[in-house]
């Protein structure tokens, strides 16, 4: 029920506040009613047809770097 998928915004209709998003090349209609300042190319988490939150790429990269760091300290 609480699962949400990362999707990239590929078109925005400002009149209806709806967007077209790509989930692994599959196009889905997504409401932007719950998020502000979404622009083309942004990644959002999509849940029951709504964008819940933007995905912060810097934070994602930082988390991935921490995974790698965990391994380094483990093997050191």
């Amino acid at each position: 029920m609480c699962l949400a998928l990362p999707a990239q915004i590929i078109a925005i209709d400002t009149e209806t506040n709806m967007a077209t998003a790509s989930v692994n090349q599959v196009k889905v209609e997504v409401s932007l009613a719950l998020v502000d300042d979404v622009v083309l190319g942004d990644y959002v988490l999509v849940h029951v047809g709504f964008a819940l939150q933007k995905i912060d790429d810097q934070e994602a990269l930082a988390t991935l770097a921490l995974f790698a760091e965990a391994g380094l300290t483990a093997t050191a």
């Binding site: 029951v48 819940l52 965990a70």
Partner: protein
């Protein structure tokens, strides 16, 4: 797929496993509750239990909205269809949940009931617009993740004066469930929590602070991908080793301290607390669920239709309630895999794609 594949890399999983193995103190037993069914499924599906030391135990929590919905609410939904002849719009997860008398929404649909499975709450509005001569009810369930989309369509229905539309509201609150687990007469024995991923995108990390402080349990908000779960496990172990009890945010790519303010404001404008709500496994919990505000009363299915209030009867032998409290594991249930399977579920934990029994049946049953 971006933001998915990177968080499933096997080589990084092995590295994290090594770090966890080095971090655990061998004489200590770590009991970590993953609150969400999404985490339970990641743990079983990716075999994470086998990657970490045996003295780190995962205890499955109640974070599966389909699982915690008491039977009488499903009975009410069937009553709406059979007695009031409404078009009932529901998320697909609810279709096979057992109701009383071996009934279910799927059986009610087979018997001619007009039950529509929808993917988005907005489809319910569309169905209401297309069928102005019929009453259309949206069977709303879910934690804080799923509540804002219901708030949006209620506001739309009010703007459009869509008078044949109403919502049967069953939205529940995560912090209230956490509180109930910790305050239970026989409190669960848990050392720390893996906190919800997507609930927290909405409510933020701040609401967990009081649990960390009051009950001295570390809480790590964890993403749903396998590497997220492993890293969060490592963070919990490190906190426990250092006798710390803080709220940490592993899922920082989507969760902030304050959460989604816009969604919170929409929820606050549309819903208010129910005095009490029944949870399967946890019983009646005060202030644990939402109902429509008075301004939206005309869209409240519970006010529009008179629904019966019979008590919930559980299937004899089904351990769902104890499993949802973290008191038992799926393998402790005698019905699991014998009479209770995903094709013929006896309890909600076997139905939902987030239920612990479904996870155990799908991925874990050959592990022992």
């Amino acid at each position: 797929m971006k933001y998915i594949d990177e968080f499933r890399q096997p080589d990084l999983a092995k590295q994290l496993a090594t770090s966890i193995a080095q971090a655990v103190e061998p004489q200590r037993h770590y009991r970590l509750m993953e609150f969400c069914g999404g985490h339970t499924h990641a743990i079983f599906r990716y075999g994470l239990q086998d990657l970490i030391p045996a003295n780190v135990e995962f205890i499955h929590g109640p974070g599966c909205p389909v699982c915690v919905l008491p039977t009488n609410r499903i009975d009410n939904a069937i009553e709406l269809v059979e007695k009031y002849d409404v078009i009932l719009c529901t998320y697909a997860d609810l279709m096979r949940v057992p109701a009383s008398e071996r009934n279910s929404l799927l059986k009610a649909k087979a018997n001619g009931g007009d039950i529509r499975m929808i993917y988005s709450s907005q489809e319910a509005l569309k169905i209401a617009r297309q069928n102005p001569e019929r009453q259309v009810v949206f069977f709303a369930i879910g934690f804080e993740t799923t509540t804002p989309p219901t708030a949006v369509i209620l506001q739309q229905a009010q703007t459009e004066q869509l008078n044949n539309f109403s919502v049967f509201c069953n939205h529940v609150l995560t912090p209230a469930a956490m509180q109930a687990l910790l305050d239970a007469p026989e409190p669960i024995v848990v050392d720390g929590f893996l906190g919800p991923s997507h609930v927290s995108t909405i409510i933020g990390t701040q609401p967990y602070q009081r649990f960390a402080e009051q009950y001295q349990k570390p809480i790590v908000i964890a993403g749903f991908e396998p590497l997220d779960v492993m890293q969060s496990t490592l963070m919990l172990i490190r906190q426990l080793n250092a006798s710390q009890h803080q709220v940490e945010n592993q899922y920082s790519r989507a969760v902030t301290e304050q959460g989604n303010r816009k969604a919170q404001a929409l929820m606050a404008a549309t819903f208010e607390l129910r005095a009490s709500f029944e949870w399967r496994g946890l019983g009646e919990i005060a202030n644990s669920a939402l109902k429509l505000k008075a301004e939206f009363a005309e869209f409240d299915a519970e006010q529009r239709f008179s629904l019966s209030t019979q008590a919930t009867k559980e299937v004899k032998g089904c351990e769902c309630p104890a499993i949802l409290r973290g008191a038992k594991k799926p393998q402790d249930c005698k019905l699991l895999g014998t009479v209770c399977t995903p094709d013929n579920p006896m309890g909600s934990c076997m139905v939902s794609s987030e239920g612990a029994c479904a996870a155990y049946w799908s991925y874990g049953r050959l592990r022992r």
